[in-house]
Amino acid sequence: MDKGLNESRKDFPILDQQVNGEPLVYLDNAATTQKPNQVLTAILNYYQADNANVHRGVHTLAERATDRYEAARDKVAAFINAASRKSIVYTRSTTEALNWVAASFGNLVVNEGDEIVISQLEHHSNIVPWQQVAQKRHATLKYIDLTKDGELDMASAKRQITDKTKIVSIAHAANVMGVVNPIKELAAIAHQHGAYMIADGAQAVPHMKVDVQDLDVDFYAFSGHKMLAPTGIGVLYGKQDLLEMMPPAQFGGEMIDFVHHQDASWTQLPWKFEAGTPNISGAIGLASAIDYLNQLGMANVQAYEREIVAYTLPKLLSIDGLTLYGPSDPNKHTGVMAFNLAGLHPHDVATGLDMEGVAVRAGHHCAQPLMDYLNVTATARASFYFYNTFAEADKLVEAITAVKEFFADGIS
């Protein structure tokens, strides 16, 4: 009965194992998700049947590999409702996508005295590239504050985004605070001021239906590995006219139109950004992951996660001494739940949970400015996906209680 959404657990054999003598409860999905058999099989089949390099060579395998690689692009475009396949650029990851936008587009449009606006809850990959642009272009990096509940403070957003702002770059879903940010509203504000809107979708695309045209974002980044696909494949979506004006971040084979001795011209979108042999099997794995998610239905994935949050969050909040970060209203909280236990360091908590088979992350979650803002050095974080069960939520709560007791006895 309790087998994850649509009995999906059977597709993830990795989940069926013991860790430290206890059944594994994998709750580190915000770091990376597990991969279903369907995705693994798609990659295996590709290497067993079709492997060749893409866009070069006229033989049959090269043709098949190219077709599959490009069909995956169409799938990605449809999945986030991009207007055109030309708007979909493969990258290594969210990090690479954001770095490319910052280095190539940011340096193009940001000038001395301009502003770049991000928020207090960003992942380092949406902070550090903008610090680099701000330093290089002598621009100012500004932060939107959070409300007491840990949500983006829209009054602060309206103050921070001004006519000097050229770039607004915000996480669509947060990797610590467990909130979904109003990207559409932010995009409208940014555009009113003539700024470009960029969203980091790493924690959003795996968990909800994303429509980049409806959000009206100018760029959007996400990673395959957080949505059932292998590591090493990510996506940069950009509005076509902006990608046209954005220079490539890398140069080499595949991306050129014609190379002379002293200079070269670039080929058309989206290939102008894809220098060298790309991650072909990664793209094919990503397409298979999208098929899997489509079969479940993103609305169902989201609804299931909401239910499990509604079930888990109140139980966590009822643990004495537990501080939850982000909204305590389960309707406003995603499956990413960061917490601390009074008097205990999250590393000690995570080691204790690991002994109970429960895998959570402990650390700063690549969000040190946020840790400063929250005045903590680190937190523990449990993050759910659709294959997690209600029984696993119970196990998390039991294990936290046991760890608390262990240290209460041990320390006092």
Binding site: N20, E22, H345, D348, T351, G363, H364, T377, G410
Partner: protein
Amino acid sequence: MGLAKLNQLYREVILDHAQHPRNRGELTNASGVVELRNPTCGDVINVAAQLKDGKIAALKFTGSGCTISQASASLMTTVLVNQPVQRARELIMAFSHLISGETISDQDDDDLGDAALVGSVAEFPARIKCAALAWHALDELLDQKGDDHHD
């Protein structure tokens, strides 16, 4: 198995040092101070040492961190104070082997005293960095200052 295994790591001596750290605080007249961070969690440790006549005359630490990093720092200060710099560096090396699960000589084990109990962290690979932090900081400090023969 569950939490029972935790007792191997969080022994009484370790919990005691985490709760009541020895030699915690600033050191006046320090010959050197080294700050190290654990990049995975942002924990910071500052180790300060006063070197005199080729020996570690005083050793203190500050900073925040988990039970393991705090206890390990505290134990280190109790074990390495008054050691000749050369011997301290050997013991840091021995500690580093110990927490990686390698065996060390009986002499080193004896000289590490209670700090050798931190060796059980070898069973918890994710925590080895926590245990090593203060020791690495001191090693770096001795590397920078250990050869200065200013008295």
